[in-house]
Every structure is written in structure tokens, then in C-alpha cells.
Amino acid sequence: MSTAGFNSQNGTGTGQTYANGPTQNPVALQQTPGVGYSMNHQQAYNPMQAKAPAPPGPGLYPSGPYQPIPPISSYLLGPQVTSYPSSPGHPLLTRPPMGATPSHTPPLSASPIPGPRMPPAQATPPPPAVSSSSYYQNPQQPMAPVWQYNAATPPMGPAPSMNTPPRGPVTNHVNQAAGLAGPLPQSAAVYSSAPPPHMSSRPAQFSGPGLPPTSMHGYTQPGTAPPPMAPQAYQPVRPAYGPPPTGPPSSMKPTLPPTGTSVASATPPPPNVDAQCGGVVPNVLPPTEPDFQEGDIECPGTVAGNGPQAANSYNHVDNRMAGPTQPAPPGRHLGHYPSLPPGYQNTSAPPVNPPMHPAMQAATQPYTQAPQPFQQPPGGPGPAQLSPSMAAMSLQSNTPEALRVVNLLQERNLLPPSPVSAPTPCLPQDLQKLNCSPEVFRSTLTSIPQTQALLNKAKMPLGLLLHPFKDLSQLPVVTSSTIVRCRSCRTYINPFVSFLDQRRWKCNLCYRVNDVPEEFMYNPVSRSYGEPHKRPEVQNATIEFIAPSEYMLRPPQPAVYLFVLDVSHNAVETGFLSVFCQSVLDNIDALPGDSRTKVGFITFDSTIHFYNLQEGLSQPQMLIVSDIEDIFLPTPDSLLVNLNECKELVQDLLKSLPSLFEKTMETQSALGSALQAAFKLLSPTGGRMSVFQTQLPNLGVGALQSREDPNQRASSKDIQHLSPATDFYKKLALDCSGQQVAVDLFLLSAQYCDMASLGCISRYSAGSVYYYPSYHHRHNPAQVERFQKDLKRYLTRKIGFEAVMRIRCTKGLSIHTFHGNFFVRSTDLLSLPNVNPDAGFAVQMSIEENLDDMQVVSFQAALLYTSSKGERRIRVHTLCLPVANSVSDIFAGADVQAITGLLACMAVDRSVTASLSDARDAMINASIDSLSSYRQFALTIQQPGLLAPTCLRLFPLYILALLKQKAFRTGTSTRLDERMFAMYQLKYQPLAFAMLMIHPALYRVDDLTDEGALNINERTIPQPAILQLSVEKLSREGAFLMDAGTVMYLWIGRNCHPNFLTQVLGVPNYAALPDNLYLLPELDTAESQRTRAFIGWLRDQRPFFPSLHIIRDESQLKPVFMQSMIEDRTESALSYYEFLLHVQQQISK
């Protein structure tokens, strides 16, 4: 049978708590908390937890019910889809499902297990009293309001249950899987039971509407007339959808229309909601009807008019700038706002419903469904929550919010005080729960446009950002003799496939129907048979397989590390050698590998030195090859030696190496030949080559000349020499790539090194580039510390050898361009001789065929690699995204950070192939285009000003930040090497870190408090708000920390509070502050501990080590700090406001 072994593996453990599959849910939750309303959810739901797992009806699943489903499933789907158009609140949609699933289940399942269920469900709804009453009354009345109402209430109960399963068992992978299983069966149960009721309701003619009543069964009379919903809306049939997914959705169907409502109601404290609804409703209704048709996008914002959030949105919409903080009385909102969100009406209306309503609703169905409005209430249960931060957070996550109009020219404080999080795709909750973490797999548009024409209309780039080999704290690993894949497109089985029945599954990428192998029928997690949909492969969007021998072309290679060191005079002068040797000595036991691990060393100046480390020698033997034109290996067998067998010799060598070249006067550097020699040495096995270079190679092959004219550094004209001067390094890199050798380049140099040419060696061999400008062991201690820490991470991090990565996507989509370090071997295949956990990739996509009949599309990235232990493994990530067919939906799903990241990659390409000014123009145009197309196609009310949807409100800011980034700035003195390095980093860094490079975070740290602090490992980490990058935010009385990814600046104001100076910096007064300080003294004071905890926490979040510079007014680095104030004007660049004006001018042209 199945040999599947299942365990949870710890990644290198950066401390990220990424959970798979089941765990993912928690993750999602975690992210959402930031959002604001999610938090509420959790709390509210907690009590419910116990209930959730209860109703697994596994048996039901297999039963034929699926055929009848179509209407149901479509119904379910419909809501998402339909609702979307109006004002796609992604989060909302997702949410509702959660709530819905559980709630529905009870009623539906009622047939199978009626008794126990119902009570809990009813009990659960937060606003029980009101809802229930309205509920009953409604039945006689026109349905629409009724059912929505109903739905709203029940969902609440269920939602909690959904949450619960994942939450509890998070830690243990196995458990989680089991937990997941719970919900699924439920849905299955629902499924089977559902059809019958559905049918009964059918007579009413509206297939869609019919359902809701069904769900209601428990509560109301089945006889209730189906609300006059627009049946079409629900109809959309989604072929791709598999039963596993379907199951949950089915449960959702009822919820969908109410989704917004349900969520909203769920979140806020029940009493409030009800009361508000009651009060508001009557007033609201009349106005609403007429406006209905308009179906504004912004409507959602206005929603229930609950406290703070609603108020907030309101302001924006009107552009009248009502104080966001003032909670408008619910009634007021409505009044102001011309068009009421249909959702709102429904919810509040129930008691009053005029007969007309249903009809109206039907007409406006899309809008109604969207009733994002309700979401907001969750966000602001009470006025207390109005705090701007909350509002901002919710902006991010709320879809409805995402489309709220913001006038950029008037809104000053756009930056959310906490880091911007990725938007949640508008998927049913059960799918979203399984979806890949946005840290690993992220799309620029979380709603994929249906056609290329639509994409062109929205004028936003479509692409994916990946971090495929990220260190994961939990990763399910599957050992199985057969890995189940689609027979046609070779897709790995994933959570988004559909099971037609127990024996067959349908691929979600090519739609081929495949057989389920016998082995797959057995579930090693639950030890049960016949439930293929509960296998870990189908429960986790990120999973790792141990590959059988078919996936090997040759026996897995051992871990091989070769170090190539520059020992010319210049290199010795910098003193890097001793730091390097010490680091390797310290970490020699931590090098990833097994008993076969090999190491070797090569040093070079004008000659190449090899080191014979053969076992048995009493000391390392140095072999010098001076014929650099025709390089050869003196003793090929003994230069790379087994680390375990020859550890003493290696250690001897490392200890003696720094002193060996102390007196060298050789100034030339034959890097090209050294690389060739190293390539020859590594080519039989493959492996990793680490090159340390301190000057421009000037001898032998690959010699380069200085191309930089220091006088041109600040020129605002076009920057020359961004492309390589020779293709020697590129060709060598391709040879390396062919032999599975990756080259990592460490450049430590004060002078020009031609990063543009040298970088190619890493870029095409999937290596990484590190750059330490002005490295010197005495003069630049901050760089030394950074080098040490980076080296430690570099030596000990996880590594995958002889890797390839293939990205598959649903038929109709195709990959346009890749960005990152690799060699593209075919249209969807990257060759990665080494893969490391710090490498990110970006992919531009294009839509080749229309995605007409699809509700969702999937992307799958499969990374096949050899682990350092000699195991062949496949890591598979699958991302599922909804398809949208309206421009406003696409805007609602835009992920501004991902877009910025992808644009940066594209701009790097453009500056190399065309010119820097071209790239800059292209970026500006990107922001102009997308905002003008938003204005043109997605905006219903034309207003003056520069309007942007909330989700894109940071777009111009980020673009401006890019323009002022080292890589793209002009007019400011920038070394060519630093510029090139910034470009490499933009392409190569995972998005989270690239974003910090682009738009640093500024915190005020002199008044840190424990309020809102995180508590990690018993350390309290204060969470100051992120400030805008403007001098206006600085004050002489404060101390400010700027986190720019690889470097941090702590700016101390001249009149900084003496308390901070003494308690944190340990100096009596400002004048006593040393000029270059790189460390915070470890003082035993609360302030010091807080500051250090905060900085340490920031540092822990990233794999590289950001050095800290403490800056006074007179410091040399102050200009650098001030240049990062990107919202301000500099001599050569526009301020943020000027930039906005420029954009507006261009748009209105």
C-alpha cells in the first residue's frame, strides 16, 4: 500500500511561523489580525471552537451527490464572482464563507444530523435576538431581505467553528491535517443533503435563490418564496472546482449574498449591531432604492454606518474630508451618501421591506452580494476602535475598502502605521484557507483578469513574486513511492484539484481527468482508507516530497563548497581574510552537509594558488600555478577533500591563511583564471563556489577596465555602463550552470569593481551577490560586523543543489519573463545550480487565451533540488486566485507592494537594455496609466483631484520611492557599483526585503512604550508606528530609527530628551555622542531594553544583518539619511506632492 510517511520538518527555522495547509489558516489569521476585523473574529469565535469539528460526515462525501451539485456549486461560486463586480471586497467574501460553512452545515446537515446541530447554530449568532425576530417575520415577506438577514445570523455561529479547527492543532502537522479533515467532511455532508432541499425550492424557479432558503430550513419555513435574486449571478458554473473545494463552497452558498452581512454582524458585538441596524434601517431604505442602480464602488464603505470605520470610508468617498476620527452616527452616513449599499439595505431593512425591494435587489444583485459594508462594522465595533491605525489596517484587508476612493492630493497620512500586508484573494474561505502563504507566493493582482484586453485596460502588470525556498518553520514532508501528478501536464496534486469521485481527480491546470492511484487512497495521517481528499498533498498548498529515483539523472551530489579568495595586496589591506577564516572556523561544523561534504580553497593574485589537503599530509600544501592563460589543476583529486576526514588540515589552513599573505606586494588580480580553475575543479560534482574579490580583475582572461567616471556619478544624464563590458563572466556562468555550479560573489572594495560585469557570474548561475563598499577591518567596523553576520548566515543556511524550478499555470496563462538569478532553460523552467532560502523570484505573466469559463486559476511552482543530506526533494507551492471580469474587480485585487516589486524588476531590465531614463519614465508612466485607467473605467463618480482606490493609494508613493532609490536615482552622487548592486538586489530579494529597500520604515524610538507590544519568547517588543518619510515627521526632541533593509539609521535630534541619551545611548548629553557609533550599549534600563529588543526584532526578521548607524546632525551619513526622506524635495527630485501634481497633470491630459 502506501508507504507514505508523514512528518513535520523544521526548516532552518528563521523563526517564521509559517504553517502549511491546516496551519496556514492560523497564518492567515495572524496576518489578518493586523487588519483589525479579523481579530474581532477570532475572539468572538473562540467560544465556538468546540463546535466546529463536530460534524464530520465522511461517509457522505463519496456519495454521488456531486452531480446534482451544479446549481449549488454555481450558486456558491456565483456569490463570490457576482459580488465581486460591484465592489469586490475580497476579505469580505472570504470571510463570509467561513461563517457560512459552519452555520449552513447545521441546517443542511439537519437532514442527516438535525437535532444537535441546530441549537448551536442558532445560539451562536452574536445578534441573536434581533436577527431571529426579524427572521421569522420575514418569511412571509419578499424573500431577499429575509434570506440575507437569515444568512447573516447563522454565519456568525459557523464562522467561529471554522476558525477553530485550524487554530487548535496548529503545532502538530499531523493533527492539523486531521483537523482539516473535519471541516471537509462537513461540507461533504452538506453537499449531499443539500441537493434535495434545493430541488424542493426549485419550483420557485430561481435556482440560486432557492438555496438560501434551503439553508434556512432549520430556521424558517421552507416554503418561503425564494428571494428574487438574479439567478444568473449565481449561475456561473465553475468547471475547475473540485469536490473538495466545492464541498465547502456549497455550504457557503447561502451565505454568499449575505456574506458581507454575516461577517459584519459576526464581528461586532452583537447588541451593537442589532441596535444599529434597527435604528438605521428605516431611514435608510427609502433613499437607497433610487440610488441602487448606481452601485457605487464606494458603497461598501458606507455600509452600516457603524462607528469609526464607516465614518472613515465615508470621508474618503465624499472627498469632503470629514474628520475620519469622528464616528458619524450611523444614520448620518446614509443620509450623506447618495447611494446606499444594497447590502446595507438588506441587512437593516428586514423588518420593513417594501415589496419592491426584492426586485431591486435582484437587479442590483451584484452589489447586494458585495455588501462589503458590513465588514466595516466588524472593524469598528465601538467608537473606541476608531483609532486611525485600525482604520488603516482594515483598509488594507477589506476589499470593499480596497476600492474606496482616496484623493491623494488631500489625504496626507496614507501610510498605515503597521507594515502593509498582502491583500487576501477573493476566494471562498475554504479555498483561501488552503492557499499558499503570501510570503511564499504572491501575485500582483489577486484577481486575475479574464482576458488580456481587460488586463491592458487596467494597465497594471500581472506577475507573481515567489520566495520558493523560504525557511519554513513547518513544512509537511511526504515520502511516497508514487507522487501523484497529472498525466497530461505533470502538475502535482494539490488542494485545488477536484475529485470527481473517489477514484478520479481533475487537474486544476489542464482539466484532464486522472485516476487516483491505489496507494493514494490510504491516508497516512488519519490512517484511514478511501479518503484521498484528506491526504496531506490535498490539504497543503506548500508541501515537500521526497523524490524517488526517477527524479535523478545521476546520484544526488554531495555538498561541495569551494572558496576562491583574493589575496592581492589590496585584499590583504582590507583585512577581510582573517574575518573570513575565523567565520569558517567557527561555523565549520554547521556547514550543511552529510558525511560526503567536500571543501576546497583557492587563492589568487597574479597567480593561482591551490591547496592540497589530502588526508595524510602533515600540513596543507600550497601549489602555485602561474600559467594563467592556460589554467590546469595540479592535483585534481586532492584539492577538494572530504571535510570530515580532513578537518584538521582544513582548520590548519584557515588558521595560517591570513598570515600567509601578510606581506604580499602583488597588486594584480587574475580573477578570470581563478574562476576557470575553480570551475574545472567543481565541474565533476557541481556545488557552490564562493568568490571573494576586492578589486577590479586586471590580469588574464576576464580582465576589466574601469569604466566609471567619478564626475558623472551625480549626472542627471543617462548613466552609462550598466551592461556588462564583456561576456566572459556570463559565458562562464552558463558553463557553471550546466555543470550545476553556482557562484556567489562577495565584493569588498572601496574602488570601482565593475559590478555590472562581475555580477553576471552570479546572476546566471543562480548565485547571490554581496557587496561591502569601503570594507576595511579598522576603518569601517559596521561593515565588518555586517560581513561577519552575513557570512555566518551564508555558511550555515540551508542549501539545495542541482535544482530546477518549474512554474506551471492554468491553461490560458503563460509566463512572459522571469526575474532573479538563474538561467532560463525553457519557457517555464529555471535552472538553479544552487538554491538558497534568501532568493526571491519574480515572474511576469501574460494571458494568452481568455479565461472565460473559469472561476479560479492556479499557479504551481515546483522546485526539485538535492538537499545537503543528499536527498532529492521536490517542494511544491500552489496558489489559487479568482478570475475577475470587470476592471473594478481587478483594481480591488491589486497588491500594491507586489506591483511595485515587479515594476522594479522590469525597470532594472529596462535600464540595462535601454537606458535609465527610459526605465524611470516607464515607472512614472506605470503609475499614471493605472490611475488614469482607474479613473476612466472603475470610477463611477468623477470628482476633481487625484483619485486612487484605497488599495493603490500607496502606489505613487512607492513609485516615487523607486525613482529615488539608489538603483534608479539621478542627480545624486551614486557609485556605479552601488547602483548595480541595488539593481541586483531589487531583482533578487524576496519582496518583503525589497520593499524595505524601496521604502524604508521610519519609527520614533525615544518614546517607546509597551503599549501594543508584541510578546515573543518572553521578550516584550514595542511596536512604534511607522512614520512617513518626511522631515516634517522628525523633531529635534526625538530619536528616529530608519530601517532600510540592509542598513538602519538611528538619528538623534539635537535636543533629544536627555533621558534617552543616558538611558539608551549611555552618554550624558548630546555633545558627548561619539561620531560613529555602531552599537547600542547594553544598559540595564527599561528604555535601553525596549530599544534593543525592537532593533533586535527587526534584525531577526531578515536573513541578512542590517548594520546600525547612529547619526547626529554633523555626521557624514546624515545626507544619506536625509536622502531617504523620499517625500521631501531634493535638488534633483520632486517632492511627493509635486510628484502627485505631475501625475495628476498627466492623467488629465
Partner: protein, 158 residues
């Protein structure tokens, strides 16, 4: 006459060019024959080699074209020459704007997979094929015409 044969050769090159790029593009998209997608199979390696050979043919193609342009010049076939000049200019431009490369060659293996470049190359291949085909018939016509002029007088003389 010579031009005729050479054009035939050029057509052959153009076809090869198209095939090569088409292969590059669709190569791995038809996965049925790719049982082991993630690994380069021997088949794949062969294909890559073939593509490489095809890419090397670009230079000979340019040279041949250049050669018979010179021949037209010598023969003072102004009309034919003007027809060919645009292509000649295009070739010169294409070769001068090629990426930095130490050896002869036009295509950079690291960027060839970019969808834009791939599409462009494919289009280029089709256009050239059309041009060569047309010129082939034009030369054929010219050849027949001139040979008939050459021979008819004799025929009538008899």
C-alpha cells in the same frame, strides 16, 4: 541563376530558424512526451543542441545574402539590388546591435527565453521566409526570362 540556388539555401535557413524558435517556444509546453518534466531528458539536451546549431546559422545566412547583393551590384541589377537593400540594412543593424559577445552570434541564451524576444524572433523568421520565397520566384522569373531572351533569337533564326 546563382541567386536562385542561394535563395533556396536562404529559404532553408529561414525555415530552420522558424523551427528552432518554435521548438524553443513550444518545446516543453507539450508535456506528454516529457515524462520527466523537471529533469532535462536526453531528448531535451538534443533539442537544445539542435537549436544551438540553428542559431549559429544566422551568420552564414547574413553572409550569403550579403554576397549575392554584391553580385547584383556587380551585375548592375539595380532593381533587384534595391529590393534587397532593406533586408541588407536590417541585417547590418541587427548585427551591430547584438548583445555584447565575444564570439560571433546574435542570440543571447540568457535572454532568448523572454517572451517578447522569442515572439520577435519568430515573427522575424516568418517575414524572412516570405521575403525569400518571393525573391525566389522573382529570381526564377528573371532567370527564365533572361534565358528565354538568350535562346529565343537562335530559335527564331533557324
Amino acid at each position: 541563376m546563382l541567386a536562385l540556388l542561394l535563395t533556396a539555401a536562404l529559404i532553408f535557413f529561414a525555415i530552420w530558424h522558424i523551427i528552432a524558435f518554435d521548438e524553443l517556444k513550444t518545446d516543453y509546453k507539450n508535456p506528454i512526451d516529457q515524462c520527466n518534466t523537471l529533469n532535462p531528458t536526453i531528448d531535451e539536451v538534443k533539442k537544445i543542441k539542435r537549436v544551438k546549431i540553428a542559431l549559429k546559422l544566422v551568420l552564414p545566412e547574413y553572409l550569403i545574402h550579403f554576397f549575392f547583393c554584391v553580385m547584383f551590384l556587380c551585375a548592375t541589377e539595380w532593381l533587384t539590388l534595391t529590393l534587397n537593400l532593406p533586408l541588407l540594412a536590417y541585417h547590418v543593424w541587427r548585427y551591430t546591435s547584438r548583445p555584447v559577445m565575444s564570439g560571433p552570434g546574435l542570440y543571447d541564451p540568457t535572454t532568448i527565453m523572454n517572451a517578447d524576444i522569442l515572439a520577435y524572433c519568430q515573427k522575424e523568421g516568418w517575414c524572412k521566409l516570405a521575403f525569400y520565397l518571393l525573391s525566389f520566384f522573382y529570381y526564377l522569373y528573371g532567370y527564365v526570362f533572361s534565358s528565354s531572351r538568350l535562346f529565343t533569337p537562335d530559335y527564331f533564326l533557324i
